[in-house]
Symmetry: C2
């Protein structure tokens, strides 16, 4: 799998008919750097596919490198085995940023950043590339930790499958800011505003058998949101 | 839509072939109360369906009442219009609880609680029931706020669609606790443990035009996770 050099890419993603936002098109984001920023802020994705005519969705962790998103899983997992067959996939990542309290029920909303990508996932098979991708995933969660651990065994590599999806057909949507209410409701005697929400790290819990007593900085520095 | 009286339900969900957990079956949860607790802790779901043979996934907010999950949206939304047609849907809700740092890359994991439900969503059409469902959603986010607001107009009700999915065919999976490492790795000089993560509420931001200066307790008491 070769990557298109970013120098030949337009700074905006093209908009396919399937990915054109029909509702609230003003929330659409096409700038590559902005879309990358949303993808890099997220950690969990939902991956949808069709099997036997029925829809299936699996939520899992992902990471982005260049113009691809990646996820991994047990080579024995149903989702992985089905997607390895080269079937269409819908990837979505969505970050919840806030609860928007409006003056009417109707205008309540959420602030969020989301990306949808359509395509066919490809397995990363080349051993060195696969290792590099898994290292990148580890670095996303704990920079430097990969080098602190023993390398994966051949058996572990076989038991793990890495899938890649090119960001060829995407849409990105961001809702931010306060409530947008009807003019007639503005004097309603009710609080209006936003309560931000964010995924945050808590206090680390050291495994009773850990030979190191305290979590190092790289395990506590994960970027979330 | 009548609800099966809970008195005739077994305390466990049945396990369909499609929903049987093949990987890590020890993480499976079938107890209804435990599954309800996971669903009630989540706020965001991913809804997958098939259209023109292709997979689509939409992330949106949901709530649970009894043996159903509900989500809503603009009646003009593509997802809503397609699902109203009565096509199979895969609903997933997943709550990330922690980053699990193991002694090898292979055994790194996430703590999470997740539910998958398959079925056909039904539109809630009866006006009084639809109002009751929307009130329940508001109550889930801000108990008591529904009564503080003007009632929805007929036009707003028309512009909003509520969908229900019966929890007839579900699977639920919970991963909790610390890393599970290979015996040979236990002495590795590397920190092992869990960094909890949680979605938390931040400091409220009052709309500049709000007639009430401070967010009331019910807007700040949303249960997340």
């Amino acid at each position: 799998m070769t990557q298109t050099p970013s120098s030949v890419l337009s700074s905006d993603y093209p908009v396919s008919e399937r990915c054109r936002l029909r509702r609230n098109p003003k929330r659409a984001v096409t700038d590559r750097a902005a879309v990358h920023a949303v993808l890099d802020a997220g950690l969990q994705c939902a991956v949808g596919y069709v099997f036997d005519g029925e829809p299936y969705v699996t939520q899992t962790a992902y990471w982005r490198e260049g113009e691809r998103v990646y996820w991994h899983g047990s080579s024995a997992s149903q989702m992985i085995r089905r997607l390895k067959g080269g079937i269409p996939v819908c990837f979505t990542a969505s970050i919840l940023d806030g609860l928007v309290f409006a003056r009417s029920g109707f205008h309540h909303s959420f602030n969020y950043r989301s990306v949808v990508a359509h395509g066919i996932a490809q397995e990363v098979t080349q051993p060195a590339e696969k290792l590099a991708r898994l290292k990148a995933f580890t670095d996303r969660l704990a920079p430097g930790r990969w080098e602190e651990m023993r390398p994966p065994t051949e058996q572990e590599m076989k038991a793990t499958t890495v899938l890649a999806l090119a960001l060829d057909e995407i849409s990105c949507k961001i809702r931010e800011g306060g409530p947008v209410d009807d003019a007639d409701d503005m004097d309603a005697p009710i609080w209006a505003g936003v309560v931000p929400v964010a995924l945050v790290l808590g206090t680390s819990i050291t495994d009773p058998e850990s030979r190191i007593a305290n979590a190092p900085a790289n395990c506590l520095g994960t970027r979330l949101g």
